[in-house]
């Protein structure tokens, strides 16, 4: 297994109470799995990625990467194994450094030396690497990233996250802030690079069609739990209407919850039953 999330629970303080962001979540990703993750707002998708990346510690449970227990590793140490792209294109690059400088920083992980960041040889290598995006960025190596469009910037971020061939790639709605044309482009680039390098990937998306068409697995979260985890043939048979129906069913359960009956566990059961019916 590349990724093992074992019985992870994560809560956040909210006034005197605590919000449960993740409730006893277990998830395995095999090598070269590409799993999409969907779920309503506040379902815990980002928190799950944060726990995996080390941005926050789980209250309970363990996280293993490529067989190593990384539960107590700080984020910067885990990043040797993980590439991550956020929704906001501004989050993945240094705005006032050039395309070449950003990429040059990303071609290795860990502490830095006093050798020059950009040498003629490095520059040629970077031009070649960024050329793989087919966006013409190889001609704009000396431009500041701040001057790139959101799509170009996010494509560069994906490349930077992948260039060291991490074991695991985490994508958190990484095309959501882009216009439809750019979103398509960045998603296509992501799929191509992931396939080329065979990188295990976990992609959060709010677009059901994307969740269905991309990858070999689909994970659905609700209220801090994984309520659906489909793979291969099962996933391929799934259609948008099925997912909408599932969401609606959960929505009904939600109303019931508001009225004071039922619970998270019951709801998860409900969804599981539904999944089997599909």
């Amino acid at each position: 297994m590349i990724l093992e999330v074992l019985n992870v629970t994560k809560t956040f303080p909210l006034g005197a109470e605590r919000v449960v962001a993740l409730q006893d979540v277990t998830l395995f990703l095999a090598p070269q799995d590409f799993a999409t993750v969907i779920g309503s707002n506040g379902a815990g998708k980002t928190t799950l990625l944060n726990v995996i990346a080390g941005a926050c510690r789980p209250d309970r449970g363990r996280v293993k990467l490529a067989g190593r227990d990384v539960t107590h590793w700080p984020a910067h140490r885990r990043s040797f194994l993980i590439g991550r792209v956020f929704q906001d294109p501004l989050q993945g690059t240094a705005a006032h450094m050039t395309v070449a400088e950003n990429l040059a920083l990303a071609v290795k992980k860990g502490p830095r030396s006093l050798s020059f960041l950009l040498t003629a040889r490095r520059r040629r290598f970077l031009a070649e690497t960024v050329g793989a995006l087919e966006m013409g960025l190889e001609k704009r190596l000396s431009e500041r990233v701040a001057y790139l469009s959101g799509g170009e910037r996010q494509a560069l971020t994906v490349l930077m996250a992948i260039v060291t061939r991490p074991k695991l790639l985490l994508l958190d709605e990484h095309t959501a802030a882009l216009d439809p044309a750019n979103a398509e482009k960045v998603l296509a680039i992501t799929e191509r690079l992931v396939a080329e390098h065979g990188i295990t990937t976990l992609m959060v998306t709010h677009r059901m069609d994307q969740a269905l068409s991309v990858g070999n697995r689909l994970v659905m979260m609700h209220k801090g739990r994984i309520v659906l985890d489909l793979e291969g043939e099962e996933k391929r048979k799934l259609r948008v209407e099925d997912l909408v129906g599932l969401f609606r069913k959960i929505g009904v359960a939600d109303d019931a919850l508001l009225l004071g009956s039922g619970g998270n566990g019951a709801m998860a059961e409900e969804a599981k039953k539904l999944a089997h019916l599909l």
Partner: protein
């Protein structure tokens, strides 16, 4: 004469401005410890010179203790999670007492003592009137080149990235905290070195000589940026030194001719702060004006 003196001071304080550029612009960390590390460098260099140490070594020692003090501020801000401004203030306050302990009294006179500036120029055969200017220029040029080259290394690049996006640096397998500590150490090392040279230049070290260092440094950085509008790193680094020279010239002119307009030396800090305030507020004011008209 006025211009020469202003240039001498501009170059000596330009080293300090370079340090402030590193913390304020490169790291995006407004570091107030410079108000303490500037006189710290002066105090250490001063006491060493009085004890007969070579003035070059004394200046380097001033830079060295600045380095340590900067790292201390970095440790407070990262390991102990103290907010940046407060971490700087704490270091500054501690250094106030420490500087008096180092000197044994609130000030030292270095008149007639050897100065690294003078010795360097004499070794090069520079005419007497230009000794301080040429030597300060050499020190400044060396610091400029070192910083400029450093910012183009992998480590320097990481330092620039940490000021813009610490999250990115973390995702590249580096600890942003360590980089911040390193950056603050370098910054205050320059400030300490600047203080050590300032003491040798002016012939005294005084515990009060650091008051307003941060404001003078910020004013230099900002004035340089406004006048040069740097697009490249080369000019961005150069702008700090250039701004420092312009700032010192403006102060000299204000002191010389300001009396006619009714203000005195004690008004300088107010004026400097207003310049910095205006420059920092300009984008907000401009945006507000635009918002109203459109």
């Amino acid at each position: 004469m006025l211009i020469l003196h202003a240039a001498e001071q501009g170059l000596i304080y330009g080293l300090m401005a370079l340090g402030v550029y590193l913390s304020f612009r490169v790291l995006s960390f407004p570091d107030l410890s410079v108000d303490g590390t500037f006189p710290l460098g002066a105090a250490v260099a001063g006491i060493l010179i009085l004890q007969g140490t070579n003035p070059f070594l004394a200046a380097l020692a001033g830079g060295g203790v600045g380095l340590l003090a900067g790292a201390f501020t970095g440790l407070l801000a990262t390991r102990l999670r103290i907010p940046g401004l407060l971490a700087g203030v704490l270091t500054m306050i501690m250094l106030y007492s420490l500087n008096i302990r180092i000197m044994g009294r609130p000030n030292l006179s270095l008149l007639g003592r050897p100065s690294a500036l003078v010795q360097l120029s004499q070794a090069l055969g520079v005419p007497r009137a230009y000794e301080n200017f040429v030597a300060a220029g050499i020190f400044c040029l060396a610091a400029f080149l070192l910083i400029f080259l450093f910012l183009h290394t992998e480590l320097g690049g990481a330092l620039r990235a940490v000021g813009q996006n610490p999250q990115l640096v973390r995702s590249l397998g580096m600890n942003p905290d360590n980089l911040l500590i390193l950056g603050l150490a370098l910054s205050n090392g320059l400030v300490g070195f600047s203080g050590a040279l300032a003491a040798q230049y002016s012939g005294f070290a005084d515990v009060g000589m650091g008051v307003g260092t941060i404001i003078a440094g910020l004013a230099s950085v900002i004035v340089g940026e406004i006048l040069l509008r740097p697009r490249s790193l080369f000019f961005a680094v150069f702008a700090a030194i250039f701004g420092s020279c312009v700032y010192r010239l403006a102060i000299s002119l204000a002191l010389r001719y300001g009396a006619a307009l009714g203000f005195t030396a004690s008004d300088l800090r107010l004026l400097t702060a207003l310049v910095v305030l205006g420059a920092l507020a300009a984008p907000t004011i401009r945006a507000a004006l635009k918002g109203e008209t459109s």
